[in-house]
């Protein structure tokens, strides 16, 4: 039976999602952290000019989308490894679904919150 809760219902597809999103998030991390580290004196003016540029707004949205896929695949793997009937008995199925619903709700909040920050005004 195919899993009903994996990101794309396919292991190979989840695997690719995890890799592509990882590369996007890694580059975003390096760019933003690198900018802050090299800037020396971060002010509202230079910071908001940098993050508010169309390029960084699009990159930010791309990173948010990547975060959603990346977090789902990663956390899904952890929940299906440890919140299992073998590890903790029959209550595991319920707990696993509950954890996955919680993950989904948090991811939704992160996306909408991030959207508001990057594209809200």
């Amino acid at each position: 039976m195919k899993s009903a809760t994996s990101f794309s219902r396919s292991g190979m597809s989840d695997w690719i999602v995890q890799r592509v999103s990882a590369v996007i998030l890694a580059v975003y991390f390096v760019v933003v952290l690198g900018w802050i580290a090299l800037q020396g004196d971060v002010t509202y003016e230079n910071w908001s000019a940098f993050m508010g540029s169309t390029c960084m707004r699009i990159f930010g949205l791309l990173a948010l989308a990547s975060l959603a896929g990346h977090a789902w695949v990663g956390l899904w793997t952890i929940t299906t490894d440890y919140l299992t009937v073998r590890q903790m008995g029959n209550k595991a199925t319920f707990l696993r679904l509950l954890a996955q619903i919680g993950m989904g709700v948090l991811i939704f909040v992160y996306i909408v919150w991030g959207l508001k920050i990057f594209w809200g005004n």
């Binding site: 991390f29 990663g74 490894d81 440890y82 590890q87 993950m103 992160y110 919150w113 920050i117």
Partner: protein, 130 residues
Amino acid sequence: MKSNRPVNLSPDLILAVNLKSPVAIASILHRISGIVIFLLIPVLLYILQGTLESPESFAAIKEDVFGGFIGRFLVFVTLAGLLYHFFAGLKHLVMDFGVAEELESGRNFAKAALGVSAVSIALAFVWVVL
């Protein structure tokens, strides 16, 4: 139904096994740091929102978050999680190309990832907290 698929160790065995192998330590820390980052995303979004909204809110974040030990420490923990997850992830991506899959090379690669992460996290501590 009989299954020959590999199974995951129970949490107490994870600790017992993990403390003996750099490969296992690197792996479980990758998972733990992923959970930590996911739960601390609100810290980053909160800072991002405040610093981008207006000059006044930027100053408020500088004062409230970066002005005291607790705020700085929270930022450090988030950054430490990101740094570890970043280097462990790079290791993972490199290994996807078939690199360091033997016992000895795998152990050395794990040790290298742990070492580089430790140094970067120490630098982050100096940068953010001190």
